[in-house]
Symmetry: C2
Subunit: 200 residues, 2 copies
């Protein structure tokens, strides 16, 4: 089986959410799987000097318009969540803690977190909210609550982010296909073409 | 005849050049014309706090890779010009001076300037280079040389940029279709769909 696609995103990224709605189906059409790999965009922003998109004056206004327009074009539901942009460290720690035990469950939790934020409009920053969403997925909430404060789990996320940034990832979504990097949900058709043609 | 598309760009913008290769044909398929309207990205960057793409660490490396890859995908020639990013005030002044006399000639000069920069790889910053490119288009070089230093021509560009920025334009290319804004060469297929469907 050919190598999986690597899908890097931040749980507070609207374009990351939009890509998450389509990336698995796109990959499956080419017999590929997807490794979902959340990171913290704030850490990458420190390296590039970037600031959150929606805080950039007219660019922010455009982005808010474009999030909703892109969602309509893709045919997926979209709501701007409360408290945007929220911290995603609890969501990301929960993801990697679960990934090391059950990859499918971790991917399902990631989908549920994105859904809570960008369909139901919740602020998924607080640990309690992440734990409640995990419980709804059948995950032991008490175990997860302990994990979110565990030094090893915290270090696991720091190491993972360092690794992701070492690959040159600076934005969300960022998708690597057989070593080829693609940034942005608007690159999904390019990825589709790349997988069909093996590059161009 | 339906309203023309407004195409805003900076002459030093690789994605602006790439859009310029396709925008007229795209519009023509829908019975539309295109108003080419250069501006100075540096003025917009002061408002958004943005910096040139290629100076943004890993994002800059990605951009350099993506310029060439996008050009191959579109099937257009592409070279990174000498001295990039160069000043484009002379090119933009020349454009508007000519636009007020002969719109078709101004559009042809814009294409020739982009071609000089991104196909032949020239630094089109210096006034002498702009004048030589204009001469090759049959424009009177001495008249243009005087115009580039004329207070009225300088003010014409300043007023034009102020107007463009008042529309919310913050990047290049930025295309407005019947009031709907699209930023980036990767939005050309969206514009095509918007023109076909009248929105979505």
């Amino acid at each position: 089986m050919p190598a999986p696609l690597d899908f890097y995103f931040d749980f507070s990224s609207p374009y990351g959410y939009l890509a998450s709605c389509r990336i698995d189906d796109l990959a499956a059409r080419h017999g590929r799987k997807v490794n979902w790999r959340p990171f913290l965009l704030g850490v990458a922003f420190k390296l590039t000097g970037a600031t959150p998109l929606t805080s950039q004056g007219p660019k922010g206004d455009y982005a808010l318009h474009d999030f909703a327009r892109t969602a309509r074009r893709l045919g997926v539901p979209f709501t701007m969540p409360d408290g945007f942009p929220f911290a995603t460290v609890a969501a990301a720690r929960a993801f990697y803690w679960l990934l090391d035990r059950d990859e499918d469950a971790a991917h399902a939790l990631a989908r549920a977190l994105f859904d809570a934020a960008f369909v139901r409009g919740l602020n998924i920053g607080p640990a309690d909210t992440v734990i409640q969403i995990a419980r709804d997925q059948g995950i032991d909430g008490d175990e997860l609550r302990a994990a979110l404060q565990d030094a090893g789990v915290k270090q696991r996320l720091r190491d993972q982010i360092e690794l992701i940034i070492s690959y040159g990832v600076f934005g969300s979504p960022y998708i690597i296909v057989d070593g080829e990097p693609f940034w942005g949900v608007d690159r999904l058709p390019h990825i589709d073409q790349w997988l069909s043609e093996g590059g161009w």
